[in-house]
């Protein structure tokens, strides 16, 4: 096995305070305090994540919008100035190469943010497809530390560090602001289901990470009285699963399509030509055979990735993610089941260590959206 060791700008903080793991070659914190307590800090108050390990490239040039429309399944060319969107990037077979976000920074200039696990694969793919479009693709990952501040108290905390008006940034929009004295791209986005921001610092090289470390600490200080916690990758995973969001490599991969993954909203068939369109259109016409569902344990057990799903003695699917929900206090999972059984309220069985346990097909997010997440009714901010 190839053991790589890559570090982010604030590696020293992680090493000093966190319980470290190797995540796709990056030395990252799995947790600092505990997964459950960090998870609940984000649902109740606020959490701060270092997500610098993710890949970031700038795509620019006369035909940048057209190019992105071609390689992505959604419609990035229609983005407003400093607006973003979630999209999938597919291969010719309609399989998902990656899921990512794209922001229009200025006319003909876009920022693409993709998974750490796919940094090289995505960059190579984008470069290989860019030749006929005359666009420039620049990997800025090591120059742009990226933090995610997530939870109902995120805005009130971040506002202490900037004069820029955060309340006017809508979900999936962004602004170029000065945060803690540094130029930053601040977007209202994230991977937890909660309200919150992703803060990207411009031009801070990995070799001189001082500004990143200063901002990280300033945000933590600003949040002390609001119950902020630094959060590791463990809580990041349980939060996104509760919110019903896919993890690349688990819930989606090169062999699953956005239609099977219930990411139809990110596929714009109206576009005359994009990579994967033909295969996806064919699948849409023929109908999908399996689909991604949320499963809530009825019996007492914790479902795990890879567990098989059964109904009346017949195997009908498999789990792609599973955990004990720190918020709901029962087992939750995501998986693919044959479309005949993907009906809300259906009772299926999942296999956990050779025994089968009852589970119910439910809609996602798993939590009540009136009480938790970005659309919660009781604003705590």
């Amino acid at each position: 096995m190839k053991v790589e060791s890559r570090r982010t700008h604030i590696f020293q903080y992680h090493a000093d305070h966190g319980n470290m793991i190797n995540f796709h070659g990056f030395e990252m914190p799995l947790w600092y305090d505990s997964i459950s307590s960090e998870h609940m800090a984000v649902r109740d108050n606020c959490g701060l994540f270092d997500v610098t390990h993710m890949g970031r490239s700038i795509v620019s040039g006369e035909k940048a919008g057209e190019f992105l429309d071609y390689i992505l399944t959604r419609d990035p060319s229609k983005l407003g100035l400093i607006q973003g969107q979630y999209s999938t990037m597919c291969n010719e077979r309609g399989g998902i190469i990656d899921d990512l976000t794209v922001f229009c920074l200025e006319n003909k200039r876009y920022l693409v943010v993709y998974n750490a696990s796919n940094r090289e694969k995505d960059y190579d793919w984008i470069i290989s497809k860019s030749q006929t479009f005359n666009v420039e693709v620049q990997d800025v990952s090591d120059m742009t530390p990226l933090f995610a501040l997530q939870g109902p108290k995120a805005q009130i905390i971040l506002q202490k560090l900037t004069d820029g008006g955060l309340s006017k940034i809508r979900r999936y929009w962004a602004d170029q602001l000065v945060v803690g004295g540094e130029k930053a791209l601040v977007s209202r986005s994230g991977y937890t289901g909660e309200d919150g921001f992703e803060i990207l610092l411009w031009d801070v090289p990995l070799e001189s990470p001082g500004k990143a470390m200063v901002l990280w600490n300033r945000i933590l200080e600003a949040g002390v009285s609001f119950g902020i916690k630094p959060c590791g990758l463990g809580a990041r995973d349980t939060l996104r699963l509760e919110a019903g969001m896919c993890l690349y490599g688990n819930d989606i991969n090169d062999e699953t399509t956005p239609l099977e993954a219930k990411l139809d909203f990110a596929v714009k068939f109206e576009k005359p030509n994009f990579i994967g369109r033909e295969a996806l259109l064919k699948q849409k016409e023929e109908g999908i055979k399996k689909t991604r569902v949320g499963l809530k344990m009825v019996d007492r057990a914790v479902p795990r990735e890879g567990g098989r799903v059964w109904m009346n003695g017949k195997e009908v699917g498999y789990l792609t993610s599973g955990t004990f929900s720190p918020l709901l206090k029962y087992g939750i999972a995501m998986g693919y089941v044959s479309v005949d059984y993907a009906v809300e309220g259906s009772i299926l069985e999942v296999e956990v260590r050779n025994s089968r346990f009852k589970t119910e097909v439910v809609k996602m997010p798993f939590y009540e959206v009136e009480k938790y997440g970005a659309r919660r009714k009781t604003s705590q901010a």
Binding site: N19, S37, T323
Partner: protein
């Protein structure tokens, strides 16, 4: 006794799988997982133990302890039948983290051969020695 950060009470027997056994009264042995085991798992959220009356064999699985991210089998350090289980753990599995040798006990087992079986378990001093080999 203490080694590094781990508490190793002097009155217990230990297994290499990090369970402890306490002879509570003649023929009845209380079992649980050690401080080392609970610290390695961290953040325990779920405990699964079989019903009273279940027959268990020495060093065979008697249940599971799960953290958010991982699952760990609990092996019974003694053979016998389950006389009682710690029902508190169903609602408060974190008791194992907070008090692994006390409120975090897992099961009470009625044994028939503890004097003989305990010879195969580790004394506190042997367990400390074993932990030292792990931390190297």
């Amino acid at each position: 006794m203490k080694i590094e950060n781990y508490d190793i009470p002097d009155n217990l027997f230990y297994s290499k799988e990090h369970e402890w056994a306490l002879l509570e009264k003649p023929n009845f042995v209380k079992i649980g997982i050690t401080d080392y085991a609970q610290k390695a798992l961290h953040d325990i959220v779920f405990v699964d133990i079989p019903k009273k009356g279940t027959i268990v064999e020495m060093m065979k699985s008697v249940g599971t302890v799960e953290s958010v991210k991982s699952v760990s089998e609990v092996f019974s350090p003694v053979s016998g039948s389950i006389a009682d289980v710690n029902e508190e753990l169903r609602l408060n599995p974190e008791l194992i983290n907070e008090d692994p040798y006390g409120k975090g006990w897992i099961a009470l087992i009625e044994t028939n051969n503890f004097p003989e079986e305990s010879k195969k378990l580790l004394t506190p001093i042997q367990y400390v020695g074993y932990l030292r080999t792990l931390s190297k």
